[in-house]
């Protein structure tokens, strides 16, 4: 799978209140949540995003509340991938359950600037920065997460357990 899009860079410790403030948690609708993605960081932030773009963040992305609405809002906003230095624990788990791909790349994230064009190649395990001509390799996912993705996420997994 190859994802291509423009990078939208945010800082360290971006919490789930910034990703989707509590006042918008009165719906489970993917599109409505997506329309308000990052509204807690900056009003109208979402206007810069085109379908297929990539969120790029610093340390501890997705910290705070356990709201699954956060990865849902990012998916709903049209961003299939988040690349970060590191992720908060609950957000990490939620994202895989919701089909949002997370890449934890450590300090290499500093090599990506806001607006760079990125190609995320999941088979080759590399992020190509076509703006700078550099590449960031990323390690394979933990086996347990690969297994979950292979089964198509948590919902199909539980379906198969209940069958």
């Amino acid at each position: 799978m190859i994802y291509k899009g423009k990078s939208h860079k945010v800082g360290d410790h971006i919490d789930t209140d910034a990703i989707i403030p509590a006042r918008f948690l009165v719906t489970t609708d993917v599109k409505k949540l997506g329309a308000n993605c990052m509204e807690g960081l900056e009003a109208g932030w979402i206007k810069r995003v085109s379908d297929g773009d990539v969120m790029v963040a610093g340390r501890n992305f997705g910290c705070g509340s356990s709201r699954e609405h956060a990865p849902v809002a990012i998916v709903g906003a049209g961003m299939p991938v988040v690349i970060a230095h590191s992720f908060a624990r609950i957000f990490y788990r939620n994202s895989f359950n919701m089909g949002l791909l997370l890449l934890e790349v450590g300090d290499a994230v500093d090599g990506i600037s806001d607006g760079d064009t990125l190609e995320v190649d999941t088979e080759a395990g590399v992020v190509r920065n076509t703006t700078t001509g550099t590449e960031i390799p990323f390690p394979p996912l933990p086996p347990s997460m690969q297994d979950l993705l292979k089964r198509g996420g948590l919902i199909p997994y539980i379906q198969s357990r209940l069958a």
């Binding site: 807690g40 609405h69 590191s86």
Partner: protein, 419 residues
């Protein structure tokens, strides 16, 4: 193998042998919960999973607490859908209206969680029950839906950071100050993917309510769980709260810790977390003059009866400063009634506080105390992220109830000793 508290509780819930940190284990869950924000998504996933029933109708709690009493049509519709689900599956512990309270104050009080349990909740502050010696952690709605269906989930065995506190707590310093100091020391991602285990003579002498406040904020350091041993104080608390036979529980001698941190609290003063992260912790005496617009005393961190007593002791015979709104939200109906019986509510109202219902409300910027542009609040809650309580241009400071109450009187953030 000698086990930390985290490993020990996981081992009690699986037939696999629990080993080193990093191992993935499947464990039985004793109790599963969701609230009015997260239950609707969990129910949606539960249905998509094709689940025909919950694993145990007595071991699932649905607590309508975040936007309660329902703040608008959309939140009312979310509660309506959750209520219909609860009735359809005959869920015993469905709380809405007069029996509802802030979930992490309510469940220990109702005896639904106990030492040695594994509890997972679609709320990040589920880690609160670590104060009773339960392995309790927050997850997202779909993980919760899976556990509601199967009564089990997977965990990565966490490495443990052992945090030891020694010394006698000075006046006006409590559990909240200990956990804020810990977060200040290790940072908001200092315990990412890890367990925090709290020990030492200070902890031995700390009330269970103080321990619950500390465990509550383990997540603010990124931790999976914040664990305390179950000791004589825990047993006494449980027996007084509908749990006649709680177990004693301690980590094994010789267990492996990733890191050890020690604090001497003898000369500690109250601390405050400054905007916009819980790690921006300063001793109260080092703060500049910070005029206030709002004070919030309540939440799953500090909305229990001991917190109400602490705040009332400061506010008794005093007045809230002009132009400051001081909002007091006892966290459950039982706490509310007890505060009424003890005359605490009268003290609050005589001081000029607003006494509101048991709700999460302003803590998450839900309702009942939202900050406008440029406004500043001090709160006994758990998060001071930018915009958490309202406007992106507002500020939230976090403190213990005595400091919050004193600040309400002073009109600026300050210590009870300044009164």
């Amino acid at each position: 193998m000698a086990h930390t508290l985290a490993q020990k509780i996981l081992q009690m819930h699986t037939d696999e042998e629990v080993g080193d940190a990093g191992q993935i284990v499947r464990c039985r869950t004793d109790f599963v919960l969701a609230n009015d924000i997260t239950a609707p998504l969990a129910i949606k996933s539960f249905r998509e999973m094709g689940a025909k029933d919950v694993f145990d109708k007595d071991k699932v709690a649905l607590v309508m607490d975040h936007f309660t009493p329902q703040k608008d049509i959309d939140s009312a519709n979310q509660v309506k859908g959750t209520r219909e689900f609860a009735r359809a599956f005959n869920i015993t512990h469905y709380y809405e209206g007069g029996d509802a309270g802030v979930e992490h104050a309510l469940l220990p009080e109702q005896g639904l969680v106990k030492p040695g349990d594994i509890v997972i909740g679609a709320d990040s502050h589920t880690c609160t029950y670590g104060g009773l010696g339960a392995f309790a952690t927050g997850m997202g709605s779909t993980d919760i839906a899976g556990a509601m269906a199967l009564g089990e989930t997977w965990f990565k065995v966490p490495p443990t950071i052992r945090v030891t506190f020694e010394g006698v707590l000075p006046e006006y310093v409590g559990g909240k100050d200990l956990i804020l100091r810990t977060i200040g020391e290790i940072g908001v991602d200092g315990a990412l993917y890890k367990a925090l285990q709290f020990e030492g003579s200070t902890i031995d002498n700390l009330s269970v309510e103080g321990r619950l406040s500390m465990a509550n904020m383990a997540i603010e350091a990124g931790a999976k769980v914040g664990l305390f041993a179950s000791d004589a104080k825990t047993v006494e608390y449980c027996k007084a709260h509908k749990n006649p036979n709680p177990m004693l529980l301690a980590a094994d001698e010789g267990a492996t810790y990733e890191r050890e941190i020690k604090f001497d609290v003898s000369n500690m003063e109250p601390v405050v977390a400054c905007p916009h992260l819980p790690e921006n912790v300063k001793p109260i005496s080092e703060l500049e003059v910070l005029p206030l617009n709002q004070v919030v005393i309540g939440s799953c961190t500090n909305g229990r009866i001991s917190d109400m007593r602490e705040a009332a002791a400061i506010l008794k015979g005093r007045k809230v400063a002009k132009d400051v709104r001081c909002i007091v939200l006892p966290a459950t109906p039982t706490i509310w009634k007890q505060a009424m019986k003890e005359g605490l509510l009268e003290i609050f109202m005589d001081a000029g506080c607003i006494v509101g219902p048991a709700t999460c409300g302003p803590c998450l910027g839900g309702h009942m105390g939202i900050l406008g542009d440029g406004e500043r609040a001090i709160a006994t809650t758990n998060r001071n992220f930018r915009g958490r309580m309202g406007s992106l241009l507002s500020e939230v400071y976090l403190s213990n109830p005595a400091v919050a109450a004193a600040s309400a009187v002073l009109g600026i953030i300050g210590s009870p000793k300044s009164l």
